[in-house]
């Protein structure tokens, strides 16, 4: 037979029989294992994933055994190799059945399930074993013996990937192994034990990832056997790796440069997949070197994406650049990040790129059935089906084509079609998926029960696309897991509305559901329960149905809520609008980007369609020229790149969108926070403003108080300057100014007194003293034009106060001498009491005198009062009787016995109300109409002497013998307020507006400001006689009728005195005077502006 050249490097797949001759680098290891197997009939091979355990057995130990290099009884070898998978006993039975037993499969399985020597016994009974002590052998002739020897065979049982006893839930759960697994392991160990004891040519080899060594304790007897015969597959050393790289080429008659070997050695990193990646790279390099015709060198390594072109020798660089010009652009991109691992990644990506065209070329009849998009979906779904995450690590997952096409769930995509689409990945030279396509035509055919498997897990870890797909699949499963929790909560709560998804999770799960499109077959893939398939199917179907209803119901509930929310939201939105404008701008940006991405997607789709159309045309024209084909491929690549870019952009846009939404929410939150902070700041600002104002006010107040204090000082200094009236006036005036300007009380006694004293010093006639009365002035009243006064002699004088003289007088002449006289407040009426105990009421309109005589009293009358409307007059005296007469008719209206000598009587608010002060120390209120008496004060020590009514406050003010002034609030049942600190008897009292004046027994007059009890009263003491009557005139001047027959008039207003004083001042203070009296620190000002 002619030698047909093959690649000495198998790539990702294991060495097949032909290729085992190229298995190098493990010679010493193989010797050691063979030695163990020969001597102990058993060996457990452990080691890291990808360290070549299976290859050691299949390409190392087995060929040795078959070659007669493993010492055994017979020359023929039978190999029963199996993987535990999910049915270890079934798989072991299957492996042995073909050559050990004539029973049917189930019977044989049952036989083996009894464990212990079941396998050995079966072997002994089979033609493989020659019982040399048996009758058959002993009686046989030589030809028969030869025939028996020919049939005889040694048996090797290989349990490859023993870790599947632990990785499948059917075999191992919660730390304990299943009965079936225990049975299989028992069979294996007992077989090895008996074989050793009886020198049977039966051998047991197990291979297992070292990660699972601890779990072996769950099998009885296994740890002991591992201890008895174990081989830990070492990682290859440099020298071994050199053999792995160079020897196959040498054996095959190929050439490999030393520098390439060294490059590869240096590029190998410690860790998983060292050998498969190296084997794959060598396979690709061999192909790049024109299937081994050229010496494998650095340039070939660069051509498969392993070496950066800048690291090539100069001559190779030029060749490489030339070569690059001839390859499609998508392939150029695969060389962007060269590395040993990238060789596998680049190869896989190249296949993915070419796969659809390969399919169309091989199966043109299906070109219209399957689009490129369909194709990508199928490939992606297939690879996702063939991977699963085991303890956070992506591992292989075998599935049938039918299971895969069920998960794809497109009516036109059958299992058979899926098989055809994946052919390229099974081809020799690629071999990413098992079963591989070999020279045998039947290997091309697949059917729905064909089991697909990824050749080596290193593909999952090193092909970036597959890694992403596997991650996505894992992510989808995790999402489903989360979603199912919500779903099951809803179901277990009788599908109540309260358990539906809120808007956030709903949108999230809807998006996921629409993109993942889970179906029952997909769910079944993850159902590892031991329930029958039909039950799994029904369970998955129910979940999918419920999931759909759950999402639909949640969406409907949200819509209803949304409608309700719309109106309230509008209001809220308007309020928040100003705060969220920028956030919306961001969102708009995201939306724009999304639109751009969608446009790009559309463009890409269009471009793809265009490329497909171009390609179809190119195909129709039988690929007229290579150049045009390259252009088409180039266009297609660009389109796909654009599409990928668009997809990336779209994803980015979606991310942006969600980011913008998050930012919007954040912005809203921030704006709320900002608003609250602003409000807080506003409050703080207001508080601080307030505080500032307060401080300023306090400062101002302090300054004002300081200046007021200065003014008090000036007022005092003024009094001392009586020898210098101008200066005295200036100081008084300045004191007044400071007080007034700084909110002080200009009515302050010190200021008032300073002003009045200064004015007295400057003015020749400062205080009016009206002289001319013929008797002491007992009563005073003011009408619109003049001041009326009357004395005991019955003469009424009418004074022009400003002129200081009496302008007219009338005599109220009656037959009996006056006992008292009282002029009505309007000055038009007068009442006089006479010693004949009569009371006369005089009318003095226009100088015309008329009177009404009222008689009938037994004792002298001492006091009288006109009603506010001047229609009645009340009088009382020693006889305690209070009598009220009609002024016009003189008729008695009422008589009330006050039971004590009435000293003062006065009308209060109206003609019906009177206040009466009696000698026994009482103040009573009289209701005229009812004749009732209400006592509001009574004291034997502090006797009321005089009183006046304050209409504005409905208050009765009384002066007392002990100097007290008491204010009785008649609206509050006579509630009493005490005024001042007077200690001398109060004899007269008068009120006007806000001022209350009293004359005292010490012959002084005090003027109080009502409502300002803190302010000391103005004290007038520059007269020497007792005051008999006291009133305020319309200009608020206080007028006192005195015992010495004079009437004295005082201005009570500091303002008025100041005004007059200012007019008398001829200069302002000099600077020296200012500094001396006012102070340097206070800025100079003119005291009087003129």
């Amino acid at each position: 037979m002619e030698y047909k050249k093959i690649c000495p490097y198998p790539g990702l797949r294991p060495f097949n029989d032909d290729e085992s001759i190229y298995f190098k680098g493990r010679d010493k290891n193989i010797d050691s294992i063979v030695d163990l197997v020969e001597k102990k009939k058993f060996v457990m091979l452990t080691g890291a994933s990808g360290d070549g355990k299976s290859s050691l057995v299949y390409a190392g130990v087995l060929p040795r055994a078959r070659a007669g290099l493993l010492k055994a009884k017979y020359s023929s070898w039978k190999v029963a190799d199996f993987r535990p998978e999910r049915d270890p006993l079934g798989n072991l039975t299957r492996a042995l059945h073909s050559f050990l037993n004539t029973d049917n499969f189930e019977t044989f399985r049952k036989k083996l399930s009894y464990g212990f020597n079941a396998l050995v016994n079966t072997y002994k009974k089979s033609p493989l074993f020659i019982d040399v002590e048996g009758k058959e052998w002993k009686e046989a002739d030589e030809p028969t013996k030869k025939q028996l020897r020919k049939k005889a065979g040694n048996l090797i049982i290989i349990a490859d990937q023993f870790e599947e006893f632990f990785t499948n839930i059917e075999n191992y759960h919660n730390g304990s192994s299943s009965v079936e697994s225990q049975t299989v392991v028992n069979l294996l160990l007992e077989t090895a034990r008996i074989a050793l004891a009886e020198y049977l040519p039966v051998y047991v080899i197990l291979t297992m990832r070292s990660d699972y060594i601890g779990q072996c304790a769950s099998f009885r007897g296994l740890p002991e056997y591992i201890g008895f015969s174990e081989f830990f597959v070492p990682r290859l050393k440099r020298h071994d790796l050199v053999q792995v790289i160079e020897e196959p080429a040498k054996l095959n008659g190929d050439r490999i440069s030393r520098r390439l070997t060294e490059h590869l050695l240096n590029d190998i990193t410690d860790g998983y997949d060292q050998l498969p990646i190296l084997q794959h790279a060598l396979n690709q390099i061999w192909q790049a070197a024109d299937n081994g015709k050229e010496e494998m060198d650095l340039i070939h390594y660069a051509k498969v994406g392993g070496l950066d072109k800048t690291r090539l020798p100069d001559a190779d660089k030029i060749m490489f650049e030339k070569w690059l010009l001839g390859i499609p652009p998508f392939k150029v991109k695969l060389f962007e990040k060269p590395s040993l691992e990238n060789v596998l990644n680049a190869h896989a990506n190249e296949l993915l790129e070419k796969a659809y065209d390969y399919f169309v070329a091989k199966h043109p009849e299906n070109a219209n059935v399957i689009t490129r998009e369909d194709f990508m979906l199928i490939v992606k779904t297939t690879y996702q089906c063939l991977t699963k995450i085991d303890e956070s690590r992506a591992v292989r997952n075998r599935m049938t084509l039918q299971e895969i096409s069920d998960i794809i769930q497109r009516p036109h995509i059958t299992a058979r079609l899926v098989g055809k689409l994946l052919d390229i990945f099974r081809l020799q030279g690629n071999t990413f998926l098992k079963p591989f396509i070999t020279d045998k035509p039947e290997s091309l055919k697949t059917h729905k029960h064909t089991i697909l498997d990824i050749t080596h897990e290193s593909l999952i870890r090193n092909w970036s696309v597959l890694k992403n797909w596997a991650d996505e699949e894992y992510e989808n499963w995790q999402q489903f897991h989360d979603f199912n929790k919500q779903l099951q909560r809803w179901i277990s709560n009788e599908k109540q509305k309260g358990y539906l998804l809120p808007i956030g999770p709903l949108s999230f799960f809807e998006d996921w559901y629409n993109s993942c499109k889970p179906n029952k077959y997909w769910l079944k893939k993850y159902d590892e329960s031991e329930t029958p398939e039909t039950e799994k199917d029904a369970k998955a179907h129910k979940i999918i149905e419920d999931a759909s209803l759950f999402l639909k119901s949640s969406r409907q509930a949200i819509r209803r809520k949304k409608n309700l929310l719309v109106y309230s939201t509008v209001t809220v939105v308007l309020i928040l609008l100003s705060f969220t404008v920028w956030a919306f701008l961001e969102r708009n940006k995201a939306l724009e980007q999304q639109l751009i991405a969608e446009q790009k997607t559309q463009e890409a789709v269009n471009a793809t369609k265009e490329a497909i159309r171009s390609k179809e045309e190119a195909l129709k024209s039988q690929r007229k020229a290579i150049e045009s084909e390259q252009l088409a491929v180039s266009a297609k690549d660009t389109a796909l790149k654009a599409k990928e870019q668009a997809m990336v952009s779209q994803q980015e846009a979606l991310k942006q969108k969600s980011r913008a939404e998050a930012e919007t929410r954040n912005a809203q939150e921030q704006s709320l926070i900002a608003k609250r902070e602003t409000e807080k700041a506003e409050q703080q600002r207001a508080i601080s403003e307030k505080e500032k104002n307060k401080a300023e006010k306090a400062e101002m107040k302090a300054r004002q108080l300081s200046l007021i204090s200065v003014s008090q000082n000036l007022a005092l200094k003024s009094a001392l300057q009586n020898t210098n009236p101008q200066l005295q006036g200036l100081l008084a005036m300045q004191a007044y100014r400071f007080t007034k300007q700084n909110g002080g009380k200009v009515q302050d006694p010190a200021i008032y007194e300073a002003l009045r004293s200064a004015y007295s010093s400057l003015a020749s006639n400062s205080n009016a003293v009206l002289k001319g009365s013929s008797a002491e002035v007992r009563t005073l009243a003011e009408n619109s034009t003049s001041l009326a006064s009357a004395g005991k002699d019955g003469v009424v004088n009418y004074w022009n106060v400003s002129k200081g003289k009496s302008e007219s007088s009338v005599g109220l002449k009656y037959s009996s001498p006056n006992n008292f006289i009282f002029i009505s407040s309007n000055g038009a009426l007068a009442a006089s009491g006479h010693e004949n105990k009569a009371v006369c009421v005089w009318s003095m309109n226009g100088g015309k005198i008329s009177f009404v005589e009222m008689k009938g009293r037994k004792e002298l009358l001492r006091t009288a009062s006109f009603s506010p409307d001047f229609t009645t007059v009340a009088a009382a005296g020693k006889d305690s009787m209070l009598t009220i007469w009609n002024v016009q008719s003189g008729k008695v209206i009422k008589e009330i016995n006050m039971k004590s000598f009435v000293k003062t009587i006065l009308y209060t608010s109206n003609e019906n109300s009177l206040a009466v002060i009696t000698e026994n120390g009482e103040v009573n209120l009289i209701s005229v109409s009812e004749g009732s008496i209400q006592n509001i004060y009574s004291s034997q020590t502090s006797l009321p002497l005089c009183g006046t009514y304050i209409p504005q406050k409905n208050t009765l003010a009384c002066g007392f013998s002990d100097g007290k002034i008491r204010l009785f609030n008649l609206s509050a049942s006579g509630k009493v307020n005490q005024l001042g600190d007077n200690i001398t008897r109060v004899e007269q009292i008068s009120v006007k507006n806000n001022m209350l004046a009293v004359s005292c027994s010490d012959k002084t007059i005090k003027i109080y400001e009502l409502g300002n009890t803190d302010l000391k009263p103005i004290h007038l003491k520059d007269h020497k006689t007792k005051v008999r009557s006291l009133i305020f005139d319309k200009e608020n001047k206080i007028i006192a009728g005195c015992e010495d027959k004079t009437i004295r008039v005082w201005d009570t207003s500091s303002d008025k005195i100041a005004e007059k004083l200012c007019s008398l001042l001829t200069r302002n203070m000099t600077l020296i005077e200012w500094k001396q009296f006012v102070g340097e620190k206070i800025e100079y000002e003119k005291t009087c502006s003129k």
Partner: protein, 297 residues
């Protein structure tokens, strides 16, 4: 046998690493040919390198980030480069090894541009017996050197040269003897019968004998299951395509089950022929082998 190691001169940046390496190599059981400092003068340096090469059977050239000083009398070639050029002349010697060690000090960010050029030059100049390694520690380097320098012990059998070396399984021994008898009349032939249970190291034995023969013949009739794997194992032992002795895997066409029993590998001629024609076919293939060998000479 302990390897004798010469550690090349290095610029100062590698000084400390060089000292560490010396100690590690000593601890691993290797001998150091040049301890201490290199002579400061150019002539002394050249002499030390020459002596080292003469004395050592392994040369280590540590490479750091800096190229280091150059030699004015050698066209300003760097001292490291000079050493490499000198060693290269000896690389053809079968027992001489060169290890260029790109130390961690030659990490990309520490590399001088000229040193990078030198490294690329070294990488492109790798030939047999030369290794370029980037292991991170002296420990790993020492371990690699030790494994490479280790010479495997081979038990040499008593082999007498012959023209044709015939190998068969005990099951086919009788038929093989007949074949041998027929061939031995015209060509010197030796036969080896493989007995499974006797414990002989058949692959080594066969390989040594094959290498001393002009044609190796593996014959089978009933033992096809043995013959194919056996020829593969032996083929590997003798160097596959590089072997000077071709292998003839020849089986009898009786029984029919032998049909299709071939091995596909270079330098292996596989054929199933009528039992009567087997001696003849062996002769034909022998002649071809001889002719081919003559041509190659």
């Amino acid at each position: 046998m302990h390897a004798n190691i010469f550690i090349a001169w290095t610029p100062n940046d590698c000084r400390s690493l060089r000292e560490d390496l010396t100690q590690v190599l000593k601890n691993s059981g290797m001998e150091i040919a040049n301890e201490g400092e290199f002579p400061a003068d150019e002539a002394g340096f050249k002499l030390a390198v020459e002596k080292g090469i003469q004395k050592a059977d392994c040369f280590i050239l540590p490479i750091g980030g800096k190229l280091g000083e150059s030699l004015p009398t050698e066209n300003n070639v760097s001292m490291s480069h000079y050493q490499f050029l000198k060693i290269k002349q000896h690389l053809a010697e079968s027992n001489f090894r060169l290890f260029v060690w790109q130390t961690p000090l030659a990490a990309p960010h520490l590399l001088e541009p000229k040193q990078l050029e030198f490294i690329d030059h070294l990488k492109h100049s790798i030939t047999s017996n030369m290794a370029f390694t980037n292991v991170p520690s002296p420990l790993k380097l020492a371990d690699d050197i030790r494994s490479v320098m280790e010479i495997p012990e081979i038990t040499l059998a008593e082999v007498a040269g012959t023209d044709i070396f015939l190998i068969c399984n005990e099951m086919d021994d009788a038929e093989a003897t007949e074949v041998m008898d027929m061939v031995s009349d015209i060509v010197p032939i030796k036969k080896l019968t493989v007995v499974h249970d006797d414990g002989l190291n058949y692959d080594d034995l066969s390989a040594q004998q094959i290498n001393s023969s002009k044609l190796a013949v593996i014959y089978f009739r009933e033992s096809a299951d043995w013959a194919l794997p056996f020829v593969q194992q032996v083929w590997k032992k003798i160097g596959g395509a590089a072997s000077k002795t071709p292998l003839l895997l020849i089986g009898s066409s009786d029984p029919n089950s032998n049909a299709g029993k071939y091995v596909n590998a270079p330098k292996i001629i596989s054929m199933i022929v009528n039992a009567d024609l087997i001696p003849l076919e062996i002769k034909v293939q022998y002649d071809k082998a001889v002719e081919s060998a003559v041509k190659k000479r």
